[in-house]
Symmetry: C4
Subunit: 240 residues, 4 copies
């Protein structure tokens, strides 16, 4: 079934994926997600030279199996910054999961928790940090921060994520303005569904805004002093 | 002519191949072998990155000819572990030759013997080690072992291959579970024809099982002690 | 609207380009510029091996962003040979801009000035150095010189560019004859519109000549003494 | 016009080629030469890995132009083993030019002489060494030798090429048997027109033979003693 938000078709459909690999998932997704939204997920900046070269470089990290180790049933569980994980996988912070499904980050958090992976939530999530946390109360999660020019907004964010039990704040320092994402320009992409923090604080829902417009609200000038101030004002509970 | 085993079409056809190179043989085979069975032979694990890179790396071993050597009619015969071979080629152990022809490993052993190559027979062969040996009594051959969790099964295997005159046991240590073979998953491949050792010992013929199910009967925990025990229990006749 | 010069269609159309990247501009241009003229702009010498390898090599100069620099609104303005530029971009000297638009180098100079880039004008420009200068009197510009066999022609050129306020002369030393441009040979390209200096001095307008014919008027023998003589005879005003 | 020799169409057509590059010539030739004959010229051994890699490696020898050399009208004339050449190009020895044109090596020698290049003639030429020499009496040329098992044949060849004024004998030492040329196997290529030396000496014309059959008459066992004997028996005139 498909739900329409201001004309944007959002899937409400739930079924087990017959998933063989990620490339095939990308092809399958392309058939069901509107073009502009699909490329918001699946494209990179400029002519994607860096993206392609990153992928090629990553493929050269080879997993070399060992033999005759006298070991049965190897486990993938690990520990990251004191957090126990069943699998060494972290869901990177990605804006606006609502493009792919109406349950947005709530659904992704549930899946991550089921797999024992670490979830991380973007400042530009559709769902509230409280709803995401409630989806899997015992699972660990991080919060990704686009620092705002407005420290009142920042403080409100810190308080909300602390209260919701997020384990850490990940500060974005290499994307202070939007990348020159050519596929988004070609499709004239704007966020089709509301983003929680914008709705809550700015009275603007976020949807209908381009990526570049969203970034305009963020701080472009970030230095070591800002990091110190974030640390001070957020006082992450796990440090005390 | 084609024979049908439980609906799976098995060639009974014999003719001299007009074979120019191996790539062309692969194309020709694709036209006559059912899709799932074809990809059991012709595909690799995951997205085949390792397979492609292995092939590329292998191509860099260059055969550099020498000139003015005053030599006529060079011979390719060589010796491998004390075994004289007319050609430095070994048929790698491959499961279930019956996919390609009803005579399965019996036919492959005949061809290998005619070419003076060393044949090696998989634990998952369709034909019995005795029938394979009878196909070319004087030709050398090895046996590939997926160690079973059940040492009674292992002992039965050792006795059978020794009695059949196999020269060596090749222990598989790097494939204790099935590879994530995407092409097999896509075609939902199961072994279409019976495998001798499963039929003989387990009362299960093996056909209708997926590759993953087959591996489940194998030992996943293998270490140096297992190697020593295999050596002791198999007591290869050529060492005495 | 399109203007016809001796049958060659020259665009008079002005509109803001909806430009996403340069590759797309190249595709768009291919649709509106006649084939021979398009390849005069878009092709390289021989089988374009050097061109492709230059592009690949250039892509390996990577722009690595820094983070946490406490800097806002970074500026691209720079200084090149004492000339202040708003952007570190220089328009390379290219012959015969009239292929792309009737306003030719006058339009390119206006665009370069608007962007704060350095313009450079080819000896084979369609427009006069005076008209180009008048298009953006305060903008900096260089003049590219194909040295003529005829020093009277050269002196005339020096005087004209000095009077028009050009800041420097760029001497071409690596293209004393035309490159073997295969695409131009295939389309039998000749300059379709007049080139100012040929018109002014030689009484020949230049159009209807092949690239090879144009080069025949240039000096093929150039050495350090010619560089000294150019320096002496041109006495660039910014040195005094 | 086309001449037919035993059903093989041989061009008698002469016209100036509108030749832009060698790749285009190869495409043009493919349209007029029968398939098997075309691939005799245009294919390599095995799966052409070495051929492709040789071409790629050769492309890395870069011709780097110098500038400001004060030189006009550079000349390409050079000297190779005491022979003056107008151009540093040598026509490699290739069998059976008659595939491409009825005038065969006589025409190629004329073209090489006109360009000032060094021609070299294969043992498997269609035309006699005397006719090739007569086509350009003053031009330099070499003779390529597939050494025969029969030294009477070899002596006859030496005497003929010396008398015809060939400057050197090039001994093939790295192709004592035919390469595994897959394209020739696929098209079942046999020489379609007579080869002079086979006609003259063996009473067999050579046509209708496969490349492998031709090589069978050659010596496969060649060492330093053979080189010395060739030197002694051929006594190249330019050494005395």
């Amino acid at each position: 079934m498909t739900y329409y938000y201001n004309g944007f078709p959002q899937s409400e459909h739930d079924e087990k994926l017959n998933l063989i690999n990620v490339d095939q998932l990308e092809e399958d997704a392309k058939r069901v997600i509107p073009e502009g939204a699909y490329y918001y997920i699946a494209s990179g900046a400029e002519n994607e030279w860096t993206w392609r070269n990153n992928t090629a470089a990553f493929n050269h990290y080879q997993i070399v199996p060992r033999a005759l180790t006298d070991m049965e049933d190897p486990q993938l569980d690990t520990e990251f910054m004191g957090i126990k994980l069943k699998t060494p996988v972290m869901i990177a912070p990605i804006a606006c999961h609502g493009i792919a499904h109406k349950d947005a980050e709530v659904a992704t958090q549930k899946g991550a928790a089921a797999a024992g992976a670490l979830f991380s939530s973007s400042t530009y999530a559709n769902k509230s940090v409280e709803d995401i946390a409630a989806a899997a109360p015992d699972a660990p999660r991080f919060f990704q921060l686009y620092l705002s020019k407005d420290w009142n907004f920042n403080k409100m964010v810190f308080d909300a994520v602390k209260k919701a039990g997020y384990k850490a704040i990940m500060l974005t320092v290499d994307a202070l303005v939007s990348g020159y994402r050519e596929a988004n320009l070609r499709t004239q992409f704007t966020y089709p569904v509301p983003l929680d923090f914008f709705n809550r604080y700015l009275g603007a829902k976020g949807e209908g805004q381009s990526v570049a417009q969203m970034y305009a609200a963020s701080a472009q000038k970030i230095g070591p002093k800002d990091v110190a101030r974030i640390k001070e004002e957020s006082r992450p509970s796990y440090l005390y």
